[in-house]
């Protein structure tokens, strides 16, 4: 592209120039005009661009035109140069062709709005709408690059009432480059409090154009009654294209401002975008039936009270908590709680607010009041009252907590009949005896092992690891052994069943000696482990001795009896 333009400049230098026109001849800062230089011939001849202080010249296009006149052809070549002023004023562009008249460009100061009749506007306004007009219910800025909306749920409210509002800033990506300052209300009748620190981001399509939308949540508080228009103003920096309006179609096709920058110059401009004014009516709080303890709280609230303990000793500090929950102007929620109680000494309460939403409209305010019982026995703490104005029902409300009963016992010092102490004093001693009066045992020689810490050994992690590891080790071994036995049972490897199988095999084979030998081993092993000898075991031992020297197999009944005995003893041993 650069090489092509250089060739163009060289070619134009020597060509016969037919005409040079400037349109429009009156623009404002931020816009541009077009200088069209027409030369004869199909070939591009080099032409020198004029140099004027305060004006920038840039070749943007060229085209060739061929006309047939009386069977003859006339070919002209035109070069379009964009002229962009850097400041307001009247500029004279010297004649491009020899003996041609100079051209005059008048540049007005920036007004933030397009110059009437100028083909060179800023960014292209949305199609089908004039700049600044309402489009889809949204009022765009003059250059069509941004909009601000103040969304309020209701139009009439009371002084002091907190009204949640939503502020939307819409901007065309790439056109708006910076947010230059805080959001500001027009007028002093309202305050904008607790703007959410982070804006929510979204994208909205407005008449076929993509707008990024930043949404803030806040609360609006009217400070005096009356009817007031309210709007919000946001300072922005926008990037304005200096391309002629007729080329705006290309802008729309390209869409991406980065691409547009390759085809046309842009300048930055600071603007203020203002939302359409909303007419709001603020009513004063009614003076009729205003409760005595009303502190200015407007909203909807609930209250509850609690005591950390329901029993204490005389002189012990207790903390009474009052919880106020709901929605409204929590900065005006206040309570003196309990004052001048019989049997109690009370102190001024303190409060802490914990919001449950970003704007602080909803949440819980907790009041804490130290109380000290001065008399023993069942002491009553009366109900705590709280008054507020409820805008939903348009009247004052007073809510009460439940009364509380606390069991107060005498101070321990009084219970043990200690010598009477001074009021508010805990046994202040008399004078400390002098050194001579103290009969101390003598010092010890420096000896013994030193320790780095006085923390008991059982609380030190390094030591605790030892018994813990041991306990885990034993627990693991216990469960390991248990699992092994269970698996042996499951796989039929039960040693009891194995011994019984061998005994039955000996019985079936008619081997009396083997039968009695196996039976004796099994039974004597169990008896030895259990530390008990039975009559049957001794009888079995005698029979075995006899069977050793006898060739006869015992009778069937005897086999059954001794097999059952062995089975029973083996199972006893296993279960023990």
């Amino acid at each position: 592209m650069g090489a092509c333009l250089m060739a163009l400049r060289t070619a134009m230098a020597a060509a016969p120039i037919v005409s040079a026109t400037l349109e429009p001849q009156q623009i404002s800062v931020g816009q541009s005009a077009e200088l069209t230089i027409t030369t004869l011939g199909a070939e591009l001849e080099p032409v020198s661009l004029p140099v004027v202080a305060g004006l920038q010249f840039r070749i943007v296009s060229q085209f060739r035109r061929t006309e047939t006149i009386n069977r003859g052809t006339l070919t002209t070549t035109s070069v379009v140069v964009r002229v962009t002023p850097k400041a307001a004023g009247t500029f004279t562009i010297p004649g491009v062709a020899p003996k041609s008249q100079p051209l005059v460009l008048r540049v007005a100061a920036d007004t933030g709005a397009p110059v009437p009749g100028s083909p060179s506007a800023g960014a292209p306004p949305p199609q089908g709408s004039a700049p600044g007009a309402a489009t889809s219910g949204i009022h765009l800025s003059a250059d069509g690059s941004a909009f601000v909306q103040l969304i309020i749920a209701k139009q009439d409210f009371y002084v002091g009432q907190i009204v949640p509002v939503q502020i939307e800033l819409g901007f065309r990506p790439g056109y708006v480059t910076a947010l230059n300052g805080p959001l500001a209300l027009t007028g002093n009748e309202f305050t904008l409090n607790k703007l959410s620190p982070q804006a929510e981001r979204s994208v909205r399509n407005i008449d076929g154009k993509q707008f990024g939308v930043l949404t803030w949540h806040s609360v609006l508080a009217p400070v005096r009654p009356g009817k007031f228009p309210l709007s919000i103003e946001i300072p922005l920096t926008v990037r304005i294209s200096t391309r002629p309006q007729r080329e705006s179609l290309l802008d729309d096709l390209l869409g991406d401002p980065f691409m547009q920058n390759h085809f046309g110059a842009t300048i930055s401009k600071d603007i203020k975008v203002t939302s359409p004014p909303a007419e709001l009516a603020v009513q004063p709080l009614p003076a009729l039936d205003r409760p005595a303890g009303f502190s200015g709280a407007v909203g909807t609230f609930k209250i509850a009270s609690e005591l950390a303990t329901r029993s204490a000793a005389v002189g012990d500090p207790l903390t009474l908590r009052l919880h106020v929950t709901g929605s409204g102007n929590f900065d005006r929620v206040d309570s003196n709680m309990l004052e001048h109680l019989d049997g109690w000494k009370s102190y001024p309460p303190t409060s802490v607010f914990k919001p449950s939403d970003a704007t602080g409209d909803k949440g819980e305010k907790t009041f804490e009041q130290p109380l000290i019982a001065t008399k023993p026995g069942a002491q009553n703490l009366p109900e705590v009252a709280f008054s507020y104005f409820d805008p939903a029902i348009r009247r004052y409300e007073t809510v009460h907590t439940e009364p509380l009963t606390v069991q107060i016992v005498p101070a321990a010092a009084d219970r043990v009949a200690a010598p009477p102490a001074q009021p508010h004093a805990e046994a202040v001693p008399a004078a400390i005896p002098t050194t001579a009066q103290l009969r101390l045992r003598p010092d010890h020689p420096a000896a013994g092992a030193a320790v780095n810490s006085l923390v008991p050994l059982f609380l030190r992690p390094a030591f605790l690891a030892v018994p813990t590891s041991l306990a885990l080790l034993f627990a693991g071994a216990w469960f390991g052994v248990r699992g092994r036995v269970t698996r042996a049972h499951a796989s039929g490897q039960d040693p009891v069943m194995h011994v019984l199988g061998e005994i039955e095999a000996a019985s079936r084979a008619g081997d009396a000696a083997l039968f009695f030998t196996l039976a004796r081993e099994a039974v004597s092993g169990i008896d030895e482990r259990l530390g008990s000898g039975s009559e049957e075991a001794r009888e079995l031992a005698a029979l075995i001795e006899e069977a050793k020297y006898s060739l006869d197999m015992p009778s069937c009944e005897e086999v059954v009896r001794w097999t059952q005995l062995v089975q029973r003893r083996l199972r006893d041993g296993r279960n023990s």
Partner: protein
């Protein structure tokens, strides 16, 4: 299995003992704390004297000199000395370190006895005896821990006429005044103040600077 258990047990005991032995190079000794207590007592600082005696008593609970001087200083400060019961004395008079290790041995005997019975190692009666003895040692250690537990939250008042306030702020109203050398129980903390409870049951907020925990760091 038997070898594995023995090896792991011995390794644990050696590591634990080496840790305890490793720290016994510098730091507190019962004698140095006792002597420090004597020095403060002679200098007329009963709070610091009682603090050091209490700390010395943690390391040498059966030392009669520490006990005697602690009682002398407390009596001189007009503070009551309540004699401990025989059970408490028996449990706290023993060296806490030795009792802690007895607890470890108890775990060994208890677990080993149970396992031996299950695996039928040796005589059944020996396994049962090991379980019983191990359980008794564990119980002894637990009782000692329970009796020492309050010491973790004890503090000694270091300054004369220390105000106990109604709330944890310097300008809070004074509920009562604590004498120097009084031993109190710490129950809560809040921004430079400690909620204390005296032996007579009274409670109030005392500035951190006016107290010292018997066990540093608590």
């Amino acid at each position: 299995m038997r070898r594995l258990l023995l090896t792991a047990t011995l390794l644990g005991l050696v590591l634990g003992a080496s840790h305890v032995g490793a720290e016994a190079q510098t730091g507190y000794t019962a004698a140095s704390l006792y002597n420090l207590g004597n020095s403060f007592a002679r200098a007329g600082r009963p709070g610091l004297a009682v603090l050091n005696y209490e700390r010395a008593r943690l390391l040498a609970p059966d030392d009669a000199d520490i006990e005697a001087n602690l009682r002398a200083v407390r009596e001189a400060a007009r503070l009551p000395n309540d004699p401990p019961g025989w059970f408490r004395h028996a449990l706290t008079a023993a060296d806490a370190v030795a009792i802690a290790w007895l607890g470890v041995i108890g775990v060994l005997l208890f677990g080993g006895g149970l396992l031996a019975t299950r695996l039928r190692w040796g005589h059944r009666a020996m396994g049962g005896a090991a379980v019983v003895v191990g359980g008794a040692l564990i119980g002894l250690t637990c009782a000692n821990v329970m009796l020492l537990w309050p010491k973790l939250h004890e503090a000694v008042v270091l300054t004369q006429a220390t105000p106990a306030r109604v709330s944890p702020v310097p300008m809070g109203e004074t509920l009562f005044v604590l004498p120097e050398a009084e031993t109190v129980r710490m129950t809560a903390r809040h921004e430079g103040f400690v909620l204390i409870r005296t032996r007579t049951g009274r409670a109030g907020w005392v500035a951190n600077a006016d107290l010292a925990a018997v066990i540093p760091g608590n």
